[in-house]
């Protein structure tokens, strides 16, 4: 009984401390700061290493990955009162590429505050595409230089995932290629990801912060939808599988941790 009282008291005071410190810091968040988002690519809990063989996935397929690149876009942050901050659309398109070491998205001048949720898109939305030359700006050149343009249809590859694999049935090392994007005007594969942050991310004039995401590239094939390379190993414009892959890709992102304030990375 006594113990209970004491622990309640401790808990209570902790909550008090928690609340008050929260309050004061929120008050202190003024101006703006940058939030960077780290895309840490992995495969089934291990590092993703270009050219190294991975252990079998649940389809019994052993993949050696030679390319993993994707487009992330349209960044938004939701704060603790539910307001959404939309990062300027024109600057909101990035290529993440394992081979080119592009793994960090920096969003400058985020209004000071405490954010609870990160939202972004995978790929390029039709609205942007249909802005023509004006809309693409320099992003088109960046995408081309990282193999993220489909030349024959003047569109973007949202995901470029390549390598080789073996399975019980396919015993010779066989090339696989997964290029996923929208299918002209007839199929929109742009999808959005919403990630709740387990720790609020805070920014202000004094504080730049970062969100560290872990990516499980194994989910591209095995997640809500099961894609067997043994059945089809080159998937580019597939009315059925491409949208399934687009959904799987949205499920490969997970928040690992948050760094609030400088000095971390």
């Amino acid at each position: 009984m006594k113990l209970n009282l004491i622990s309640t008291a401790i808990l209570f005071s902790l909550i008090m401390v928690g609340c008050s410190s929260n309050d004061t810091t929120t008050d202190q968040l003024t101006g703006s700061g940058s939030i960077s988002i780290k895309y840490d690519n992995g495969y089934n809990g291990n590092d993703l290493i270009i050219g190294a063989a991975n252990s079998a996935n649940s389809n019994g397929e052993n993949l050696t990955i030679t390319r993993l690149s994707y487009i992330v876009s349209n960044f938004r942050l939701v704060n603790s009162t539910g307001e959404e901050y939309v990062f300027p659309k024109d600057e909101s398109y990035f290529v993440i590429s394992q081979e080119a070491d592009l793994d960090n998205v920096v969003l400058p001048e985020i209004p000071a505050g405490e954010y609870t949720t990160l939202k972004f898109g995978v790929g390029v939305d039709q609205e942007k595409y249909l802005q023509g030359a004006e809309g693409q700006g320099d992003f088109l050149a960046l995408a081309e230089s990282h193999h993220m343009m489909w030349s024959w249809q003047a569109g973007y590859k949202f995901l470029n995932f390549e390598g080789s694999f073996t399975s019980e049935i396919v015993t010779d090392d066989t090339e696989f290629k997964i290029h996923m994007g929208s299918h002209g005007s007839s199929l929109d594969n742009y999808k959005e990801v919403t990630l709740a942050l387990q720790t609020n991310v805070r920014v202000s004039d004094e504080m730049d912060s970062s969100i560290h995401l872990k990516i499980d590239a194994a989910k591209i094939l095995v997640s809500s939808n099961n894609i067997q390379l043994t059945e089809k190993s080159v998937i580019m414009v597939d009315e059925v599988k491409s949208p399934q892959i687009a959904v799987n890709v949205t499920e490969m992102f997970e928040v690992d941790h948050i760094h609030n304030g400088d000095g971390h990375n």
Partner: protein, 368 residues
Amino acid sequence: MRVNIYQATGLKKLVALVCIVFRSIWTLMPMVFLLYACSNNEEEYILINESLAFEVPSNFPEPHYDFDANPPTKYGFELGKRLFYDGKLSSNGFISCGFCHEQAFAFTHHGHQFSHGIDDLEGTRNTPPIQNMAFLKEFAWDGATSHLDLFPIIPITNEVEMGETMGNVINKLKADSSYQEAFEMAFDDPEVNTENFLKALGQFMAMMVSSNSRYDKYVRNEEGGQLTDLEKQGLDLFGQKCSSCHGTDLFTDSSFRNNGLPPNPQLDDVGREEVSGALSDKYKFKVPSLRNIDKTAPYMHDGRFGNLMSVLDFYESGVVDSSTLDPLLKLEGRLGIPLTSNEKEAIIAFLLTLTDETYLNDQRFAEY
């Protein structure tokens, strides 16, 4: 006469040339205003880049191109034209857009069923005309892109057409000081980059309007718009038998359809399916415009027909059935379109009235 204002070095020379350009080819375009100013003791001319008006012919539907996003200007258009005719856009330096898109043939590749580009490699598709692009929603036979600005990426990076990369093309242009000047004149943000490159080509192509055939003058009740009885009969028949697909005065409804051509097994071009991935799109191709059709032979996506009579013979008796054949070509259990030989003659007579000599000879679009 070819006036290449970009080669002009001194500003004064430029001004003089602009006047020549204005007199000779810009009569339809708004005035170029030259502001004259004195600063220090040097004379300085400031050139204002005048915007170009896009006129919608009264018998046309509304344009689809977003002119607000890329408003055509005199120098933007001029730059686009120069790029269109420049072999620098290809890996060997010789294949320009104009190589395959020749004005005299409504910007098609005359005498070629399949266009050949780099290293004489041949593509598998027939070059369609470039005309009235601002009114279309989809481009290429399969709708590979739905934005005109972005179209040039396809031929430039296609290894059998121009075999280049966008990045390389921009580097080549950056290395050319006359292009730097031209970009500066054309755009407020004067950088030589893909955005401005595509905008310039987009402006040039968006301005290419063919709307002054005898048929146009006839429907607009203009001078020179007389049709013979046979041509009028053809127009009537066309309205009954063809315009459900070749609709509006663009002569296309911009849709993708299978008109029943027997597939060529050697090419096995699946058409729209290539872009959409949908089996239900197999063998569907964009309904082509029929403007200037007399000049754009051979016909169809693979250029299989050499003349219009063969096209009409095909519609009458050559249409093959398949799961994606357009229902309009299977009416009342009959494949194809019933046509007597008199009707064919009348339709052809009508189609020949769609030739627009003004467009085919318009100096604004001419290489030389």
